[in-house]
Symmetry: C2
Subunit: 200 residues, 2 copies
């Protein structure tokens, strides 16, 4: 790996100096999908303050690639009402890692539950923090290949979603627009393009 060309123009601090250390934390509120914590921290200069963070289990997003090549190859996506945005939107299948579960296992489980498909291959193509400013968790992206329809949907309580197929060509055009309005779906698609060598 070559050396990063990093130029610092305005006071460089090493990681220790930039890091706030946790002194104590107070649970504020717990939901089915995350908990809110208020954490008291101290900075390297002695500055103290409270910060709020959202502790959530890790997430997975699955990109289910159907057989085929070129711009007309197809992918499964899901269309569902989203409680945050208050809109019906399209995304790749996704879900939450259960306690003790391996993320690849979550990917297989959510793919089956949401679409009724199994995958011969689940390839981890990247992981990031959904929002390092206040989220504590990791979101993994898996590419699912060798798909086979084996069952009907088996959705969680209060979960209703439609499954669609979209071509590569369409996804290149509509991901990140009104219909596919999730930052996580854009990030997952970017990882797919990086993995397949279509960018970079």
């Amino acid at each position: 790996m070559d050396t990063l060309e990093i130029l610092v123009y305005n006071g460089s601090m090493n990681d220790d100096k930039l890091t706030w250390k946790r002194l104590s934390s107070k649970p504020i509120y717990e939901t089915r999908i995350f908990s809110v914590q208020e954490v008291n921290k101290i900075f390297s200069n002695g500055d103290k303050a409270n910060f709020v963070q959202i502790e959530a289990p890790d997430w997975v997003t699955i990109i289910p690639e159907l057989p085929g090549t070129g711009e007309n190859r197809e992918f499964l996506t899901v269309r569902q009402y989203r409680h945050g945005s208050g809109k019906v939107g399209m995304e790749f299948p996704a879900g939450t890692v259960d306690p003790g579960e391996q993320p690849a296992r979550t990917a297989a489980r959510e793919l089956l539950e949401e679409t009724g498909y199994t995958a011969a291959e689940l390839i981890k193509i990247g992981s990031v923090n959904p929002n390092p400013a206040f989220m504590t968790n990791t979101t993994y992206t898996f590419l699912a290949r060798g798909l086979q329809k084996v069952a009907d949907q088996n959705l969680d309580e209060h979960e209703y979603l439609d499954v669609h197929t979209e071509t590569y060509k369409n996804l290149m055009r509509i991901i990140g627009t009104e219909e596919y309005h999730s930052a996580i779906t854009v990030q997952a698609w970017h990882f797919y393009l990086r993995y397949t060598g279509d960018i970079g």
Copy 2:
């Protein structure tokens, strides 16, 4: 715009049928950067349930492109401790839209505060919801061109960050890896590549 090739395999519901309607909501907790609401909703089949959503002001991410062409052109990025991930990470400059503020104005303000640069041009290159499952807000991505260093950093209370320059070539390699571990930064970079025609 050509017609989307959408195939439905398992029961298609129109938007009205997929939508949960809000009956009432209860504020749970308010922080400097978001508030948590518990919302009681009803589905098209009469099913009722409570859902938690995080209401936050809109966000902006700015991609500050320095003059230059090809793989060696450079961008400003910021290196800072992130309270959610508990790690020092690199991202594009970003911030929160103040009440009544236009997002482009926020982009100009945050760019100046975090890096000391002004931009001759701020181009909105996309917007998405950071996480439609429980976030209510929109995150805008702006491309900043015609950069000029006019001031020192002017950071918010408890904000400490270093400014770096990175080449296009490096960013293509390291965005979405350990050092650039934010999904929002990956999404913003995807919008940049789409805008410049490097993908799609």
